[in-house]
């Protein structure tokens, strides 16, 4: 432990960063809002390893999954804002989730956003052997009377699934209890559900041909399958992509905020880091610093209102 601390201080000195004054004085608890083994989880754990090796800070990842990151947000909100507890999750939780829940138990103001990490590659995914070529085939099957279950992992994606059905006059059975895209993907692979949102972990399956992206949930084209039709082809003008970000309970000191923000962005921007190579495999790198991240969440929250209106009953 002593040698470890020594190494840590050496690294901190060598890094020579402007904000080297602030360092955590002990192990940092890193809460992950999604299930172990999924995209967000791996992303967060890789980030922890990189920060550990680059800054010498000791991070302990813990999964606190459920309700699209809301369970974690509630728990993190009550932690002391000393930079010793941080959370990794998605912008959805703060831009949409709290507005769609009856009693969210948290608000975006409860958090300081530190940095964003990556954007998703959101698609509506099914197993290829179902024979569907795109979302149109699924809609047709549903209109013909087939019961289609649709897996979602956040309230926004659940509303999205509902809205896609509403516009196309189809009733999906929306299964909303999944803790992340990997969880949805597992359920699709197991045949528990028919289709579902997956935010990137479907890539390997799509490339090998086992899975198919029925529709693109992003505004930009999907890197893994550029030919996938956009949702606008099916009468839906909303985008459902989301952004991974790191945050802490509100009230963090400016030094701590800047130190974290820099440490995170340095890890993601380093082309040799583990987190970067993972992002390049599944997602798209997207680094915004603390202020930019807050502004980004605020814009997303404005857009959220439109979808909320469109899906209100």
């Amino acid at each position: 432990m002593k040698s470890f601390l020594l190494a840590a201080s050496v690294v901190a000195v060598c890094a020579g960063a402007a904000n080297a004054e602030w360092t955590p004085d002990g192990p940092v608890k890193m809460m992950i809002g999604f299930k172990a083994g999924g995209g967000a989880d791996t992303l967060a754990r890789m980030l922890a390893e990189d920060i550990q090796s680059q800054q010498g800070w000791n991070l302990l990842p813990v999964n606190v999954d459920g309700r699209g990151g809301a369970i974690m947000a509630r728990e993190l909100k009550d932690s002391p804002s000393d930079g010793m507890t941080i959370g990794v999750g998605i912008t959805d939780t703060f831009a949409y989730g709290h507005q769609a829940m009856r009693d969210p138990g948290y608000a975006p103001e409860d958090f300081d956003f530190l940095a964003t990490l990556a954007g998703t590659q959101m698609g509506i995914v099914a197993k290829s052997d179902r024979g569907w070529k795109d979302l149109g085939d699924v809609l047709e099957a549903a209109k013909a009377g087939e019961e289609i279950s649709f897996g979602t992992m956040t309230p926004r994606l659940a509303d999205g699934a509902y809205y896609i059905g509403k516009v196309n006059e189809v009733d999906f059975s929306i299964v909303s209890n999944f803790s992340g895209g990997q969880d949805v993907l597992n359920a699709i692979n197991a045949g528990d559900i028919d289709i579902g949102w997956v935010a990137g972990p479907q890539k390997a399956g799509v490339v090998s041909g086992d899975l198919i992206n029925l529709a693109n949930g992003e505004h930009e084209t999907l890197e893994m399958s550029p030919d996938t039709r956009g949702l606008s082809d099916f009468g839906v003008d909303f985008g459902f992509g989301t952004t991974f970000l790191v945050f802490a309970p509100a009230g963090l000191s400016d030094e701590a905020k800047a130190a974290w923000s820099e440490a995170i962005i340095a890890a993601v921007d380093n082309p040799d880091s583990k987190v970067r190579s993972f992002i390049d495999r599944l997602f798209v790198a997207k680094t915004l610093n603390a202020d930019e991240a807050s502004a980004y969440v605020a814009t997303e929250a404005d857009e959220a209102l439109q979808l909320l209106d469109a899906t209100a009953e």
């Binding site: 432990m1 002593k2 002990g26 192990p27 769609a100 009856r102 009693d103 659940a158 509303d159 509902y162 929306i174 909303s176 899906t311 209100a312 009953e313």
Partner: protein
């Protein structure tokens, strides 16, 4: 002197029934936000009350079974002795030893160093780090051994202190950043 075991079974079942009914009709509705089924924003889901409600129904059914069996069956169930008084003593011993673990360090530091030294700063340092654990742990081991064997002996105290010391070393040496059991942890 000892009550008829079938009556004890009957009392046990009835007590379970009462507690179960109270849970089902008072605790669960009052202490959970959503019902067994919950509809919010046009989506119908299973609410948070589902699991506890079904668990309580399970409790009620099994207690009903125990009650009915106690009323109808001829077989005498066996009830081992509860050792109630011994367990109370054990609880007291445990409370005292955990109390010792928590307060020995701060009190000693206060007596020796005076009131100016905040204990939080001291609690990871050598003499203070182990005082609470050694006194509390030794007390726990000796008291329970004495309780079980109905006698007390100097050798037991020595052995208890030694084993507590060994345990302290096992945990204290490899994990430098971990504080030993409740040491000024309020």
């Amino acid at each position: 002197m000892s009550p008829n075991p079938r009556r004890v079974d009957l009392a046990f079942g009835l007590l379970g029934l009462c507690l179960g009914l109270a849970t089902l009709f008072v605790w669960i509705p009052a202490d959970i936000d959503t019902g067994v089924i919950d509809t919010w924003r046009r989506v119908t889901r299973i609410g948070d009350s589902m699991l506890p409600a079904f668990a309580t129904i399970g409790v009620l059914l099994s207690c009903l079974g125990i009650t009915v069996k106690a009323l109808t069956s001829r077989a005498n169930p066996t009830w081992p002795p509860l050792h109630g008084s011994v367990l109370c003593v054990v609880a007291a011993i445990l409370a005292v030893s955990i109390g010792l673990m928590m307060v020995t360090g701060p009190i000693l530091a206060w007596v020796i160093l005076g009131p100016d030294h905040p204990y939080r700063a001291l609690r990871d340092d050598l003499p203070w780090k182990y005082t609470g654990f050694l006194t509390g742990g030794t007390f726990l081991v000796v008291a329970l051994q004495a309780l079980a064997t109905r006698r007390i002996h100097w050798r037991m105290i020595g052995l208890a202190f030694l084993s507590t010391f060994v345990i302290a070393m096992i945990y204290g040496l490899p994990f430098e950043d971990l504080l030993l059991p409740p040491n000024g942890d309020f």
